[in-house]
């Protein structure tokens, strides 16, 4: 295996609606920032990979026009996934394993504000049996939340604890969209939105973008004093039909965590892509981090949840803490699909 590290991370401050700038204009400052942090120009970058979705922009191959944000001239080696940027990072990691390039730029973006996000997200569901009913993501997460409660694995107060802590953590994150300090008891006093979920258990709708630069081996050591080495990375998926899964556990996360080596050594920090509060509890259990003290110090997706961006942001937030020297070993997680259907787990480490 070729050692690969995150050597730079940049993100756009998350907002409810980016009404003025288009996607290219959103990305350009982020790309410029991440390149400057790595000390690289596009000519120095061996591979570029992005994550986004045509379903939000309403245009086929919309990522091609967004490449203008990179200024791809002379021609570059480039790829794209219709997925969260965390999976674009996975593709770039595989590309770096081939050894013919030593650096990669990974970026992702989305504007959810222009369209009805809940209707758009329902298009990823089974096209014959489920999508025609137009179920929204909040309702699907609520089905999962009730199963968790009725299995005796969590209470609505546990959900509120996640919601309260996440937004309190976000008070120290200048890029967060939602940050406040409200006690658990006050959250529990609020009415349900879709029983048993309250509004505070749900993520905000967010427009955002972020970018990461990867480098391999000695190139990473030359560019960054303390790279965040990717010691393990794996992703797994579960069946499409909700009825075929036990929604109170995440088998795919558990398998990915085992293969990424999460349990091989202590973890300083974890950033988990749990869009709904109950899902953090499921992920903690599956990752072996049930009682961990430092989960989502950024506020996580409950503080900002840009589609196709929130997963790569988790990797970036962990990597940044390792590059800063405030953490030595961290776990980052990204999810996709309804009720944690697909999950990616990465273990990042600094070396002294």
């Amino acid at each position: 295996m070729i050692d690969v590290a995150v050597i730079a991370f940049a993100q756009m401050p998350n907002v409810r609606a980016e009404t003025v700038r288009n996607e290219v204009e959103m990305l350009m400052p982020v790309i410029a920032d991440v390149r400057a942090k790595a000390g690289l120009t596009q000519a120095d970058i061996g591979f570029t990979c992005s994550g986004s979705t045509d379903y939000l922009s309403g245009q086929a191959f919309s990522f091609v026009s967004t490449l203008d944000g990179v200024a791809p001239w002379p021609p570059i080696q480039e790829s794209h996934v219709e997925m969260d940027g965390a999976w674009a990072l996975y593709e770039a990691w595989v590309k770096l394993q081939l050894g013919d390039v030593e650096t990669a730029l990974v970026y992702c973006y989305s504007k959810s504000a222009p369209g009805p996000l809940h209707e758009v997200l329902s298009r990823q569901l089974d096209p014959y049996h489920v999508a025609p009913l137009w179920p929204d993501a909040i309702s699907l997460a609520a089905l999962q939340a009730r199963m968790l409660v009725e299995a005796g694995k969590a209470t609505e107060a546990d959900f509120a604890e996640v919601a309260s802590r996440s937004r309190r953590n976000a008070l120290t994150n200048p890029n967060a969209q939602l940050a406040w300090d409200t006690a658990v008891a006050d959250l529990l006093a609020e009415p349900c939105l879709v029983d048993p979920l309250r509004r505070s258990d749900c993520p905000p709708i967010t427009d955002g973008a972020c970018a990461v630069i990867l480098a391999s081996g000695d190139r990473a050591r030359a560019l960054r004093q303390r790279p965040a080495w990717i010691r393990g990375i794996d992703h797994r998926i579960e069946p499409m039909a909700l009825g075929l899964r036990d929604l109170t556990v995440s088998h795919s996360t558990r398998t990915a965590a085992e293969r990424a080596g999460v349990g091989n050594a202590p973890v300083d920090v974890a950033e988990l892509h749990a869009p709904f509060a109950p899902q953090e509890l499921i992920l903690r259990e599956s990752l072996g981090l049930a009682d961990h003290a430092n989960v989502n110090p950024s506020g996580g997706p409950l503080a900002a949840n840009p589609v196709m961006v929130a997963g790569l942001t988790r990797i970036g937030e962990v990597a940044q803490r390792i590059m800063d020297g405030t953490a030595t070993r961290g776990v980052a997680h990204a999810t996709s699909g309804p009720c944690l259907q697909q999950n990616l787990v990465a273990v990042l480490e600094g070396e002294d």
């Binding site: 014959y128 089905l143 039909a241």
Partner: protein, 148 residues
Amino acid sequence: MSDDPVVLSAPLIIEYPFSRTTGPVIGAFLTGLREKVLLGIKGSDGTVIVPPTEYDSFTGDDLTELVEVGPGGEVLTWAWVREPMAKHPLSHPFAWALVKPDGADVGFLQVVDAGSPEAMATGMRVRPRWAAEREGSIHDLACWEPDV
């Protein structure tokens, strides 16, 4: 050539101009709905899966043994929608639920028209409400109602 400027125009219609055949398994399920019959399929381990799938999600085996299930069923979990969204199947408050038809081993996502959340409970019995006009789609099964 006329001196008048010619402005060309053409309609732009965004569409997916193709149709899919539903095949021997999904097609059989949808045809069954038209006849008010619910079909499942036996998985590799004998588990009865509804709606039927063409392959076993865990072993990858081809599945072919269709079995009739229902008509009654049981609620495995539910979520109460206080304010339905524009495209939801019902315009008044309702429950999404995973409904397990009698004779099946798994549930599938359906709507229960129960009136109020107090009328909902995990484990409750429900019966299907069929659409008056059925054409072989999931909408033929309009929703489920409490079987009391």
